[in-house]
């Protein structure tokens, strides 16, 4: 029977040190299969350093998880590059989120996961990544189900496909820190304002519709992507890994909902309904259904699953 593995994406927010350790202790006890670790958004965040992430990674590995270290998405300074290079120490398994990381992995002949910010939209780009050592790719959130299915089939013999399946979607990156800008500070003197917003800073339109979430230099959807009801469709397309993005509360419960659907213990739509009390905001799945990303489309898929 077709099934998929579950992954936990990198922590996108900035939480206090102890909260982060506690969070991953809970994750070690969850049924998630793959865990991505490390700071991908902002180099100024320093509650945990590289050795702390390694410690967490070792604990997770001891608990039977596949551990992948995610690289920073936007690299600007020489110190960003030095930090990226040190990520490649000890032959760790890396998620490359920029071509700089792909270059280093290629030079070191290391297998890597091709991250969602590499802009892999077609079979030629994916074939090239496979040739360079990628063993899995994370689809851009923009892909619709027809595109996704086509690409999954095209790469099935060389690459696993991972899909962002739950959480606020990363939509954009900037040199500017919008969290610091909100309180009239510059990035270099931000005083780590994002520690105050463990789920980001919500942006409303002037007619009071929640729209986006500011998370330092990253802008996210305010809505939570939720593909629980679309799991049969994703399995039919041949997706191998479903990614859940960490949030400060309820992450283990969300993982268990996905697990229950994959184990046929609960109907996908019922799982989606139960997640209503677990999401940070309203749900969306528009991209998968060839709509605007913020739309929510009821899944009518009746799969072979």
């Amino acid at each position: 029977m077709t099934t998929a593995r579950l992954s936990l994406g990198p922590l996108l927010y900035y939480w206090p040190r102890q909260q982060t350790f506690d969070f991953y202790d809970e994750i070690a006890n969850s049924t998630v299969d793959v865990v991505y670790l490390g700071e991908t958004v902002c180099a100024r965040r320093h509650e945990l350093d590289a050795s702390d992430w390694l410690t967490i990674g070792q604990k997770l590995q001891a608990a039977g998880k596949e551990v992948v270290y995610s690289s920073q998405v936007l690299l600007e300074s020489e110190s960003d590059i030095r930090r990226l290079k040190s990520l490649f120490n000890n032959n760790k398994y890396i998620e490359a989120n920029d071509m700089s990381a792909v270059n280093l992995a290629t030079e070191a002949s290391l297998a890597f996961v091709a991250g969602m910010t590499l802009n892999l939209y077609n079979e030629s780009a994916l074939a090239l990544m496979a040739k360079k050592g990628a063993i899995r790719w994370v689809a851009p959130v923009e892909l619709n189900s027809a595109q996704l299915g086509y690409l999954v089939r095209a790469v099935a013999s060389t690459l696993e496909t991972e899909v962002f399946a739950f959480g606020r979607m990363p939509l954009a990156y900037s040199a500017r820190c919008f969290s610091a800008r909100h309180i009239n500070r510059q990035k270099d003197s931000c005083q780590f304002v994002c520690l105050d917003t463990p789920q980001g800073l919500d942006v409303y339109t002037q007619d009071n519709e929640p729209f986006l979430t500011l998370n330092g230099i990253q802008t996210q959807s305010v809505k939570s992507c939720d593909l629980l009801a679309d799991i049969p469709l994703l399995l039919d397309l041949g997706v191998n890994v479903l990614r859940i993005s960490p949030q400060a509360q309820h992450t283990p419960a969300i993982i268990e909902l996905f697990r229950a659907v994959l184990d046929n213990k609960i109907e996908p739509q019922e799982a989606f309904n139960r997640a209503n009390s677990l999401r940070l905001a309203a749900a969306c799945n528009g991209y998968l259904h060839d709509k605007a990303g913020l739309d929510l489309v009821a899944s009518r898929h009746v799969g072979s699953y």
Binding site: I81, L171, A172, L201, N208
Partner: protein
């Protein structure tokens, strides 16, 4: 002997291309009339006939034409992008500007001698990323995203064999180019998947009482009081409410203008300045090209005497979005 320093100007039509050449562009960049380029707007861009006419016009005057194929070929669409590469090469373009690694691979395999530039949509911000594109595809030049400070541009330029081109003037992308899905989140279409940011079909201008409201697929992007000058609804330049404060949460409607950095950019080894705006009118292209030609000539002739002339600033501000300009990320405190 100083390295050549090129002024690269945009053209969305044959007449814009001609005025760019006439007013001092060294190179003009253009796109085909479809989603193979990131200014996929109705009424804009080139077909095979106008492309050849444009190239003839430029080449007769010793100038170059670049073709931007700078969107990401979508699943099942690869053939269309590959054919765009074939058509551009057949027309004898001087360089192809490409973002996607699959398309770069195709262009390099098919046309080993063709000059390839990495588009800004490729999001390369480090010498390590450029090393990848250089080794794998033999790119000659890369356009850097508008996110690096001047010192960071200098550091990249120092450590790469790839020529560096940077943006000098025009609309300011606040987000890293190639890594912004804000437009598709609201409308379904983005630069990466449809070659357009804030597509016209999703835009609405509503007069509501005294206010003018701009919406993108129904999402309110800004509300302008009477007398306020309204601008096109781009998400990153809208006014939103955060913690009960309404302001430009990401960026004001402003233009990038790096005239004052010109001698510094030349000195650090940057090889070309790019002007944004293939969607602009020939009159705009003429005025901007003329101003930058004058500035570059002065900076190349005598960098010590170089100052930004007030006539240049006046002329460019007149043409700018919101009549404001900024150094953007080139100036560190902007971040």
């Amino acid at each position: 002997m100083a390295l050549p320093f090129e002024l690269v100007c945009p053209a969305g039509s044959l007449s814009a291309l001609k005025v760019a050449v006439d007013n001092g562009a060294d190179c003009v960049y253009i796109g085909f009339r479809d989603d193979t380029n990131a200014r996929n707007f109705a009424g804009l861009n080139f077909d095979d006939v106008t492309l050849r006419q444009g190239i003839d016009y430029a080449h007769h005057r010793g100038k170059k034409v670049f073709v931007a194929l700078n969107t990401y070929p979508q699943a099942q669409g690869m053939k269309r992008w590959q054919s765009a590469v074939d058509r551009a090469v057949a027309a004898d373009v001087d360089a192809l500007i490409i973002a996607d690694i699959g398309l770069l691979d195709y262009a390099r395999q098919q046309y080993p001698e063709q000059r390839l530039h990495l588009s800004v949509q490729g999001s390369a911000t480090t010498h390590e990323a450029l090393a990848f594109y250089h080794r794998e595809f033999g790119i000659t030049r890369a356009v850097l995203p508008r996110v690096l400070s001047a010192a960071q541009i200098a550091a990249v330029t120092r450590q790469t064999p790839v020529e560096i081109e940077v943006f000098g003037f025009g609309s300011l992308c606040v987000m890293v180019e190639g890594r912004c899905l804000l437009s598709s989140y609201a409308t379904g279409d983005s630069p990466n998947n449809h070659g357009a940011c804030s597509p016209a079909h999703a835009v609405r201008w509503d007069q509501v009482g005294q206010n003018l409201e701009t919406r993108l697929n129904g999402v309110l992007i800004d509300r302008f009081a009477e007398g306020e000058s309204a601008c096109y609804p781009t998400i990153c330049k809208g006014r939103f409410n955060v913690n009960n404060e309404t302001y430009y949460a990401m960026e004001e409607p402003t233009s990038l203008n790096t005239l004052e950095l010109l001698p510094q950019l030349i000195a650090m080894g940057v090889r070309a300045i790019k002007i944004e705006g293939r969607q602009r009118s020939p009159a705009y292209i003429a005025a901007v090209t003329r101003t930058w030609r004058e500035a570059i000539d002065l900076a190349l002739r005598d960098s010590k005497q170089y100052i930004v002339r007030s006539s240049w600033t006046t002329e460019l501000d007149r043409l700018s979005e919101g009549s404001q300009h900024t150094l953007g990320a080139y100036h560190r405190p902007w971040k």
